[in-house]
Symmetry: C2
Subunit: 147 residues, 2 copies
């Protein structure tokens, strides 16, 4: 069964070319602007109290996927699902960003790593109790050759 | 523009009714089984080295959304996007689980919190450098009345 996703807004960023985008938001200080379509503005209530948000979006300029890929930070083929590579069967991306300020249906964030015009699917609060895990092994990423 | 998502597999869990599911995977020790459709099995290479995974899936039994909701852990109306409430414009869920073991196109995980039969859209590695943030404020969640 297929599921149809309809964007709730658009992410504006300084990046218009794929090669410009940071590899991950944790490595970016770039400022972005998240614009919700006006009919969703009420859903942003209480967002000012949150320091970090999870943006869920479409990798709208990703090409066809392969099940084995060479990650940006590695030099060997890895299973796609063990990587954050953007070309995926369902091209859904996820970025954790720092909330700065809101103006009705728009808000500014720090640490954006997506292309300008990225279609936004969802926003979730980043919550330490749910989202921080300890004793984590990152597998290939810990022994990779590139930094 | 709409985006069509087609599940890559299905999540099996002990939970068949919404009221049974844990509120978050961080509060669950339940074991689940993630079954990828066989054509995606090669994408699981290198997954054994990862201790934690992010599962992205459809809240397939969520009902219509409201932009203001009372979270399970609170007693006041909150903006939907400041909560993890399952009924959303795009009903995409996200759970961080602990990887246990893999058998070809299936793997077991600990800390599952979804309904049995949940359609799986993507799997990403949970990586401390990308996914752990410090100095986080969780807003309403920190001052809520329920635990």
């Amino acid at each position: 069964m297929d599921y149809v996703m309809r964007p709730i807004g658009v992410i504006h960023s300084p990046f218009t070319e794929k090669k410009e985008t940071p590899i991950q938001p944790s490595r970016s200080k770039a400022i972005g602007r998240v614009e919700l379509y006006p009919q969703f503005a009420d859903g942003l209530q209480d967002i000012e109290g949150l320091s970090h948000l999870i943006l869920i979006y479409v990798f709208h300029r990703a090409s066809e996927y392969s099940l084995l890929v060479t990650p940006f930070l590695d030099d060997q083929l890895r299973g796609l699902f063990a990587t954050r590579y953007p070309c995926r069967p369902n091209p859904i991306g996820l970025s954790i960003v720092r909330f700065i300020s809101r103006d009705v249906n728009e808000f500014e964030v720090e640490g954006i790593d997506v292309l300008d015009g990225t279609p936004l699917l969802d926003i979730k609060p980043y919550m330490p109790e749910f989202d921080i895990r300890h004793n984590v092994s990152a597998g290939w990423y810990e022994t990779r050759k590139k930094l």
